[in-house]
């Protein structure tokens, strides 16, 4: 009788082992606004080719690295400050580019690398007449680099003490845009500006043992999301590469995923750049008349790699 019980028990146990075991159903948790340890961040690679100096002239400290040639017509107004370990400089920039989407520029493979621009009239920002500048782009055509001009764009720029143009980007205010065509009725509207963003970067650990950790803090606002551009400066030069675009809640704090920092080949780069971008973004019109309007506060911090 005892042997019978033992045999039955063993059979039942073996049966359960082989036929009856599932993985338990997991409980799904939802990240909510009260979550403090998990940062919500979207990461996008900006620079696909880290040896392509195309990216070096378009770092987002000025807000014009938005690959303007890929847009429809665009108006960008920016209040920028750039900090390094010594000082912070501020400047304002307003750009307007009107693309003729019927005139594409193609590379040797037939891919569109941009559109030629047009000049619909006079453009003013806050009543200041914009200067005409060429929009130059570089692109690869096989093994050769091609420099070309897509056409004129409108630019208003003010550096320290409103030098160059007396244009000042005022935060939590408006920038008045005017387009006065050669023929026809003038168009004007106000572009609201966001609260100024001021960032702070704190490093822990050291790159040598891949323990580098960056804690980013800024003055939080009620806006939906901010953008942080993470880049680096090539050792011994002023060429800078923007690597990643991080989008996160405008809640004042972000711990940069450690892999993004510790995988940077520091033998090629000696400075890290963080650009904090708080932006209003509007769309106007559609089709060939589509107009994108960006109004943004940018704080770029350049730090020697610890």
């Amino acid at each position: 009788m005892k042997k019978l019980f033992i045999n039955i028990t063993l059979l039942i146990i073996l049966g359960f082992f082989f036929y009856g075991c599932d993985s338990p159903a997991p409980t799904e948790l939802v990240i909510d606004p009260n979550t403090i340890t998990e940062d919500q961040v979207d990461v996008e690679i900006i620079t696909k080719d880290t040896r392509d100096e195309f990216y070096s002239n378009g770092f987002d400290s000025t807000g014009v690295a938005h690959r303007l040639h890929k847009f429809g017509s665009v108006i960008i107004v920016t209040g920028t400050k750039i900090s390094d370990r010594k000082s912070t400089i501020k400047f304002s920039l307003a750009v307007a580019a009107f693309f003729d989407r019927s005139k594409p520029v193609n590379n040797m493979h037939g891919d569109i690398v941009g559109f030629h621009t047009v000049m619909p009239g006079v453009v003013k920002f806050n009543g200041i007449k914009a200067k005409i500048k060429p929009l130059n782009i570089k692109y690869r055509n096989g093994n050769t680099k091609v420099d070309t001009t897509l056409g004129p764009i409108y630019v208003v720029f003010s550096g320290r003490l409103n030098s160059v143009d007396p244009f000042g980007y005022n935060f939590l205010s408006n920038v008045r845009f005017q387009l006065i065509p050669a023929v026809g009725t003038a168009t004007s509207f106000s572009i609201p500006t966001p609260e100024e963003i001021t960032g702070k970067v704190t490093f822990n650990g050291h790159r040598a043992d891949k323990s580098l950790k960056a804690v980013l803090e800024w003055n939080k606002s009620s806006g939906q999301k901010i953008e942080i551009i993470l880049g680096a400066v090539v050792k011994g030069s002023n060429i800078s590469f923007p690597f990643y675009r991080l989008k996160t809640r405008d809640d004042g704090r972000l711990v940069v995923p450690s892999q993004l920092l510790n995988t940077i080949p520091f033998e090629r780069f000696d400075k890290i750049i963080f650009s904090f971008v708080r932006r209003f973004e509007f769309n106007n019109g559609s089709g060939s008349n589509r107009l994108k309007i960006l109004s943004q506060s940018i704080h770029t911090i350049i730090i020697d790699i610890p």
Binding site: K2, F5, I6, T9, I12, I13, F16, F17, G20, C21, D22, S23, P24, A25, P26, T27, E28, L29, V30, I31, D32, P33, N34, T35, I36, T37, E38, D39, Q40, V41, D42, V43, E44, I45, T47, K48, D49, T50, R51, F243, Y244, R245, P257, Q259, L260, T263, I264, P265
Partner: protein, 630 residues
């Protein structure tokens, strides 16, 4: 409250000494299913336990004690085509296995501990950028595992059969495999220290109440009804559970139904949680409060478990139990026959079954008996308690000259070679010459050395053969007794007991060798010598008002009253008694301490007898007693 229910409380294991009730081998298997979005089933627990003496050992393997969480980590990557891939995390908490030990100190008290191994696995998807000529993301999973051992101690106390209490620690000893702080440490199982207090009461046999309280402010309260069947019982129970970290106040109910027989048990139990299961579970709550228990937490799903238990007892179940033992006689080694018909101990034994049983009592006195001595079997009706006598045998070779305290093991068994219960009691074994002062027991000394005495007496009689041959035949017995007395005692001296007590009696051969003794030694010797040649004797017990008594003897002259004049003209010098055939014969009293001669001993003996037994009505009043040796 069934054990499955116990495991659901926050302490996970409510009673570290809970294996004490097992008799031998135990196997338990729990299989269960959870009612999540999809129903899953798993082997929850497989345990093996073994009792050795008062110790219980247990091992348990718990593949189903697992809780998984998944969530989007908050990090996303934007791909080339502008689509977004969200990174996710998966946390897995498991109890792997455990082992326990408990010790039954008494029937009422046991203590024990359990140690269990837990595993926590934190899997986080991360993107690792790869810098070559181009920059791209490599998606991978980072895993961190943290194990910890948890040990808790507990005590069970049952002052009476239907009430018990338990106290156990919660998270008392906690040893983790990793002590350095990691990014996942915030999500470890919370292990606050505490105490678990339990109470069980069964006011009537069919109903019991259970209550478990944790100092971390959770409790369980349950009621169980038991219904007897011919070969087992069915139990129905329901338990309410309150958990500080769950809502509503009564977080869930645990119904259970079980069937239990002697070797097999099956329990179907479940957990029904009352919280709203349609709400999403917030990560922020999880990160703030964590979980404290793998099986029972605010994220647990309703479940049903089936528990099968086998009690593979190779030790026979105890059908009878010794309640108490009373030593009713000290051991006097000289009283050989006394223990064959008079028990030296009486036990109270209860039949624990619902059937009549027949028990075989036995005993062994350590340092006295060489083998177990079996006493007659006793029949006991169902659930009855009876008095069981234990007899013993004095070994022939026992010759210890000092008193000693030893122990007697008492056994009862209902089958051959299997003991149902045993008990040990201390017992006094007196020295070989010890006597309890009862003249009746002097017969045991008289029986000793019979072969030696027979030879000794015959030698004396042989030396006096010519004298005996001249004596008329019906006076032979009288003269044999006279010759033996005069030859035996002519060089003897009276020596009182050293301590003037009556607890030491010499065997006849010892008295011959020592050439002296007190009244009991000399009476024993003379009686033994006469008995060895076929002369019937009786001891006269003169019982004292206080202090020491006295003993001398009568012997049967085998003369008829009509022929008494052949030995004396004084009819007060003899005493008429019936022999075994109912025939009147002449007995005369001898004072053995009078060592000057037979006639003087007779004179003194009959004088004391007439005075104490006849004139003072000692025989009638019981102050004087005649004890026949045969």
């Amino acid at each position: 409250m069934n054990k499955t229910a116990n495991t659901l409380l926050n302490s996970i294991e409510s009673n570290p000494s809970n294996y004490s009730n097992l008799k031998d081998w135990g196997i338990e298997l729990t299989y269960g299913g959870e009612f999540a979005n999809s129903t899953t089933s798993n082997l929850y627990l497989l345990s093996l336990s073994k009792r050795i003496g008062h110790s219980n050992f247990s091992l348990r393997y718990t593949p189903g004690y697992q809780k998984d969480f998944i969530f989007n980590s908050g990090e996303s990557i934007i791909l080339n085509d502008s689509s977004t891939q969200t990174l996710s995390s998966k946390f897995i908490y498991k109890e792997i296995f455990g082992f326990g030990y408990s010790y039954q100190i008494t029937d009422k008290l046991s203590f024990g501990f359990t140690t269990r191994l837990f595993n926590q696995e934190f899997n986080n998807e991360v993107v690792e950028p790869v810098f070559s000529d181009s920059l791209f993301f490599n998606l991978k999973t980072e895993t961190e595992k943290i194990n910890f051992w948890k040990t808790d101690f507990g005590i069970n106390f049952s002052p009476v059969e239907n009430i018990s209490f338990s106290v156990a620690s919660i998270n008392l000893i906690d040893v983790s495999s990793k002590t350095d702080i990691t990014s996942n440490s915030a999500y470890e199982i919370r292990r606050p220290k505490g105490v678990l207090i339990g109470a069980y009461i069964s006011p009537i046999k069919q109903i019991s109440f259970n209550f478990l309280y944790e100092t971390t402010q959770s409790f369980m309260a349950g009621i169980e009804g038991t219904f007897d069947l011919p070969n087992g019982s069915i139990g129905l129970s329901v338990t309410a559970m309150h958990d500080k970290y769950q809502s509503p106040y009564i977080a869930g109910m645990l119904p259970a139904i079980s069937y239990q027989s002697k070797v097999f048990g099956i329990t179907l139990s479940g957990v029904k949680y009352f919280r709203d299961k349609n709400t999403t579970q917030s990560f922020s709550v999880f990160e703030n409060e964590g979980i404290r228990n793998i099986l029972n937490n605010r994220y647990s799903f309703d479940k049903v478990t089936l528990t099968i238990t086998f009690r593979l007892n190779t030790i026979t179940e105890e059908k009878a139990k010794i309640l108490s033992i009373e030593i009713v006689q000290e051991i006097f080694p000289a009283f050989e026959d006394n223990y064959l018909d008079k028990p030296f101990a009486l036990g109270r034994v209860v039949n624990k079954t619902d059937k009549r049983i027949r028990i075989k009592p036995s005993s062994k006195i350590i340092g006295f008996n060489r083998d177990i001595i079996y006493s007659p079997s006793v029949s006991i009706t169902a659930y009855d308690t009876v008095e069981v006598p234990f007899y013993t045998i004095v070994p022939d070779t026992y010759s210890n000259k000092q008193n000693k305290v030893s122990y007697a093991d008492f056994y009862i068994s209902t089958r051959n070679n299997e003991t149902d219960d045993k008990l040990q009691k201390p017992i006094l074994i007196n020295k070989i010459n010890a006597w309890d002062g009862k003249v009746f027991h002097l017969k045991e000394f008289i029986k000793k050395d019979q072969n030696y005495l027979m030879k000794y007496a015959k030698e004396i009689l042989s030396e006096n053969k010519s004298k005996l041959d001249t004596i008329v035949y019906f006076l032979t017995t009288f003269y044999k007794a006279k010759i033996l007395f005069n030859n035996l005692f002519k060089k003897f001296v009276y020596v009182a007991d050293p301590n003037a007590t009556s607890d030491f009696v010499q065997f006849p051969k010892q008295t011959i060798n020592l050439k002296g003794g007190d009244c009991d030694d000399l009476s024993v010797l003379y009686s033994a010598v006469l008995e060895s040649v076929g002369i019937q004797t009786a001891l006269i017990d003169y019982k004292p008002e206080k202090g020491l008594g006295h003993v001398n003897l009568l012997f049967n002259t085998e003369l008829s009253p009509r022929r008494a004049k052949w030995i004396t003209d004084n009819d007060s010098k003899y005493f008429i008694r019936k022999n075994s055939n109912g025939k009147d014969q002449v007995w005369i009293a001898i004072e053995t301490t009078s060592l000057t001669g037979f006639m003087k001993a007779w004179e003194l003996g009959i004088e004391k007898f007439n005075n104490e037994a006849i004139n003072k009505l000692g025989l009638a009043k019981g102050k004087v007693e005649i004890v026949d040796v045969q």
